[in-house]
Every structure is written in structure tokens, then in C-alpha cells.
Symmetry: C2
Subunit: 354 residues, 2 copies
């Protein structure tokens, strides 16, 4: 997270992960352990300590993540026995159970994996994630945990992960509220036996591409499962003068309340799309822009195009709304994902605690 | 507006207003004259031309504003006769009728005025505004027109207006979507007979304070009338290390979908407030922050404080929710206004065109 308010487990994990080495992640849902002062830090430390003791690894190799209610003390009398139970249940097929265990208001678990060859070795990247908005009183707590058996130097791994996250998790928006607990972790153990990736190379780019695929799949699962969502929103900006501009515009459109409500209402309201791109900070000439909704062109060179409202209505009934914005002034592209804004979003978030 | 997509009347008015002199503003609602290409510019020009001709003033002194649907040609065959009717109906008591005429989805007209003495002369500042969200298919079109009989040099007037707008209209948020037509205009004619204000002085600051009062009153009216709103939201950030930080934090909290839904649900969900301040970009120490909801302290030094949920529920039933955030790390304050996010907001914006 970039939030100034950081939960205790995040502070602990940021420090430990910065060293580049880890062997275990202990995760709880139900309590975010945020805004708990010194006791929160002590509890996060104890969770890591207990996990390390049970797994017989150095304490610095145990990372900690939490998701749930803010500002309530951690129920350590339940957490510590839970860690023992989880440690005893560790097995190679447990990832599905873990992906379910970390869900909060998610309606389904999120998992993804790819296999590919790298210099003759069979490499796997797997991951799981949770999140569907700012859930429980105040946590978004998008969490994602990735593992791979590829061998990669910590510095390379960090660069590769940043690249993949920028193009996946950093391109989704549910409600433009970022949380105090967001976290993406990637652990690599080198057990696949391929040559270690230590610098930018053909292998580096190939691995990065595969990691981005896994992250994008998980990110789209999060967007599709956004709180109250009935439709996923995919916004592609093409032919922008810069990559940063393409990403700004795509994210602004995917995050606009007015675009999101229009998509919920299955309304081909292209003016809201152009307007959101306009305030995104991206540079473009509004008089050049073409807009397509699920393949139907609705605007040409920034002006209205007569299109069949019936045809538009029909295509907008699909579970994914694809918005394509062609800025026609460069060669950079970006894609962002989001979801519609619905009565259920309001209901879930207005009445969660009461 | 700072939107890259600017409506034709805005382009015309920006150019004319930059010269510092104007005598009339012609305003239409129902059609925003945005995304209409060259024809849109021609139509805006014709509107100003016709108003200037009827009022016998130089064409450069006629400003033009529009609000309504985007991407549809202006019905000039209705507009031109309308300008003649409006010009014939001009009178000293017509401001109320004008304030009503520019409404779109507003539920009530917005007007404000103050009178005060300046060097023995009786000065009046009056204003009207419209807006309650991004209305009609895609326009927010917050419009505001201010007049005064004080005498002020154009340069001074511009600085004073910027100051007042930064603390009023730039501190309100309905749905974080900015429009293609936003405009605030201030005309001064010097008829009150006071000495002209030409530089920063006691009179300059006194006038500025009064203008800010008028603008703040209008801005709050806009926030209270936000689309679907049941409550106004007033967010005060105090004791911030910088003014910019105070304003960033106040606006982020007032604009957060999660804060807005919690206020709709009358839920004393202070973690969402701290979280939004945390991602605002403002610098502060989360461990220092106190938070009050309608006078009830709900967080102390960044931690939960036990408070009566019943008492909180009762106070949140009021039509204004006041959030006070004490950062306790400086001496700068700022206030932002917004409204709750409700089922009606979703309904209005999902089904407007269909």
C-alpha cells in the first residue's frame, strides 16, 4: 500500500521482505490489526514468531499479513492455536484451502498458475489473492501471494514483480479507496533447477511475461468480484503519446463513478468516458478520439456517431463491458479493469457494521 | 474546468474573460454544446453575437455558458429567439428567475448575497450557481455567476476570485467527476462608488473575505443538493503541517465512496476516514490523529476509542454529518464539503438516458 496509515503486519513484512529472503507467510482474515498502536506491532511480531518456531525457520523469514476489521485488538488467544493448526495441515495441495481461508466479502476464491520451460527446466508460477473492495469496516486489503520454483536473484525478482504489479494490480479499481493492508508478495525457491536469473536477459523477460499473465488473471478476478458488481469493466486506451498517459486515462475511465453507473444501467453513455479521460491528466486531443463499446463505435474524432441504441443495449447486457479508446496520437497502450457501481455496492458499504 | 475536453462556450468565454472586461453573460441549459466540433464553436459565437447586438455592447464583452447534454447539436432555432426574450425581460429583480432557469437536475435554485461597507460605500456581492453532480448524460456543469458593484482592477479581481474559489468551489465534491463545462465568472462594475481596489490592501482583504463567504455559501448549497444526497458532509481537517496537506486530506475524505456510503448508512465508521486521509497525499502521523463525528470523539491518537454506538447513530441521523480530523502536527486548517452516496445516486446515473 502507499497509504500513510499502514497496518502493523504490513510494517513488519515490509521490513523483513526488504532483505530479499523469506520462507513462510502467515495470514489471518477477520481482523486487519490496523490502528492498534504498539500492541498491534507486538501481536504481528508474535504471529511471525509462532509461525517460524513451528516451521523451524529463522524468524526473519516469516512474513505476516492480516485482513479484516480495523481498530480492534487481535484475538491472539484464537490466532496462536490457529497458527499451530495451519502449520500441522501444511501440504502440497493446500493452496486451494488457503485461498478460501483468506476470503472476506469475496464471493469466490482467486487462484492462478502457469507452467513453462526455461532453459530446459519446468517452471511454475502460482498465486492466490483476495479482495473485492474496501471490505469490513475499513479495509480493502487486497492481498496476493505468489510463489515460483524458478531461481531468481532478489533484486531481479523485485524489478520483475514491480513490472507485473504495475500492469495488473495497479490497473484495477473497485472504488478508488486504497487500503491500509494491501500487499503483494512473491517467493521464489529455485527448486526447478533452472539457471538463476541474475540480470536482464531473454529468461528475465520470459519469466516476467509469465508472471504478468498470472498477476493479470488474478487482478481481473478481483475486479470481476468487486463489491456489488454485476459486470466487469475492461478499459483499453490505445495509440496514446506516452505509456503513462495511456495508463492514467484507462484508470480514470475505469474508476469514474459516472462511467460505472452508466455501465450498470447498460447505457452507451460515451460522453462520460471522454470526460473521464479528459480529467485523467493524460495528454490528448479530444477532437481526435474514437470510442468503441463492446466493439460498437459510438464516437468518432470526438464527436457523436449515430449508432443503433438497441444494438448498444444488447451488447451492454454482457457480463463484461469493453471500452476501447483510440487516442490516435501515438503508439502506447494500456488496459485497466474495474466493475460497475450498483445498488448493492451502496447497500454493502452503508450497512456493513449496522 | 481543468478537463482537457472543453465545451465550445468555455473556450470562447475563457478567451474573452482573459482580457478582463465583460458586460453580459448568456447562459442556456439543456444542451452543453460540447463535442460538437467547429459547429459548436460557431454556435457559441452566434449566441454571444446575438446577446451583444440586443444589449448594444461590444461583442467581446458578451460571455457564453452552456449546460446539458453532450454531443448533440445546439437547437439554434430555439436558442436565438430565446436570447431575444431574455434580453427583453432583463430587470433588476430578475436574478431569481435566472437562477431557476439554469437548473438542470438541481432540486432548488442556489443564490447568495452579502452587503458591507467599504470606505463609506455600500458594496454588494451577489451570485447564483447550478449543479448537483455530473448531470444529463455527461455534464457536471457546475456554473456560477457572481456580480458586484465594487470597483476592482481586473488583475486584483482575478487573484481574489482564485482565492475564494480555491476555498469554496474547489473544496466540494459530489462524485469526483469533473466536467467539460465548469465555470465561475465574477463581474464588477464599480457603480457603488467606492475607491477602486488596485492592489493588496485592507480593502482588498475585506472584499476577498466577503466574496469567499458568498462562494462558500453557494458551494455548500451545491454539496447539499448533490445527486441523490440525503446528507451534506462537512470535513474539517485541523492542525495540519501545511495548508495544502489540510486541503488534500479534507477533500479525500469528503470524496471517498466508502466514507460517503458509511454516512448514508449512519455508521460511525472512523477507520474509513483515517484511511482516506492516509491515501490523500497529506503528510501526517497516523498515530497522532483524533477524529470526531458530529462532536463525538471516535478515535484518539489513531486508535479506537470506546464511544456509545447509540449516541453516534442518533447524531448521524442529522442532515449534516460533520467530520473533524485533528492531525495535531501543525497549525493549518481546511474544510471540504460533499454528500453521501446513496441508492438514488446510482439510480439517477444508471438510468438517465434510458
Amino acid at each position: 500500500t502507499t497509504n500513510r496509515v499502514k497496518a502493523a503486519p504490513l510494517l513488519l513484512t515490509m521490513e523483513r521482505a526488504s532483505r530479499g529472503w523469506a520462507q513462510a507467510v502467515i495470514i489471518n482474515s477477520g481482523n486487519a490489526n490496523a490502528c492498534n498502536g504498539k500492541q498491534g506491532l507486538q501481536d504481528a511480531f508474535s504471529m511471525g514468531e509462532e509461525a517460524a518456531r513451528l516451521l523451524k525457520i529463522p524468524r526473519e523469514y516469516a512474513l505476516v499479513a492480516s485482513t479484516g476489521v480495523i481498530g480492534q485488538p487481535m484475538p491472539m488467544e484464537q490466532i496462536l492455536p490457529g497458527i499451530a493448526t495451519a502449520a500441522a495441515a501444511l501440504n502440497k495441495d493446500g493452496s486451494g484451502a488457503a485461498a478460501e481461508a483468506i476470503m472476506t466479502t469475496d464471493t469466490e476464491p482467486k487462484e492462478a498458475a502457469v507452467c513453462f520451460s526455461l532453459n530446459g527446466a519446468r517452471i511454475t508460477i502460482g498465486g492466490m489473492a483476495k479482495g473485492s473492495g474496501m471490505i469490513h469496516p475499513n479495509m480493502a486489503t487486497m492481498l496476493c501471494f505468489l510463489t515460483t520454483d524458478a531461481g531468481i536473484a532478489p533484486g531481479c525478482l523485485k524489478d520483475i514483480l514491480r513490472y507485473a504489479v504495475d500492469r495488473s494490480f495497479n490497473m484495477i479499481t473497485i472504488d478508488r479507496d486504497t487500503s491500509t493492508n494491501d500487499m503483494v508478495l512473491l517467493l521464489a525457491n529455485g527448486k526447478a533447477g533452472s539457471r538463476e536469473i541474475t540480470e536482464e536477459s531473454k529468461e528475465y523477460y520470459f519469466f516476467r511475461e509469465n508472471l504478468t499473465r498470472v498477476c493479470t488473471h488474478l487482478a481481473k478476478s478481483l475486479a470481476r468480484d468487486g463489491e456489488g458488481a454485476t459486470k466487469m469493466l475492461e478499459v483499453q486506451v490505445i495509440n496514446a503519446p506516452t505509456e503513462a498517459g495511456a495508463r492514467l486515462a484507462a484508470r480514470a475511465v475505469a474508476g469514474s463513478n459516472l462511467v460505472k453507473t452508466a455501465i450498470f444501467g447498460e447505457d452507451a453513455n460515451w460522453g462520460r468516458i471522454l470526460c473521464a479521460a479528459g480529467y485523467s491528466g493524460a495528454e490528448f486531443d479530444p477532437g481526435q478520439v474514437d470510442i468503441f463499446l463492446n466493439g460498437i463505435q459510438v464516437a468518432k474524432s470526438g464527436c457523436s456517431l449515430s449508432f443503433s441504441e438497441n444494438e448498444a443495449l444488447e451488447t451492454l447486457a454482457a457480463s463484461t463491458a469493453q471500452i476501447l479508446i483510440d487516442l490516435k496520437t501515438g503508439s502506447f497502450n494500456a488496459t485497466a479493469w474495474g466493475c460497475d457501481l450498483t445498488y448493492d455496492y451502496v447497500r454493502i458499504n452503508a450497512h456493513y457494521r449496522t
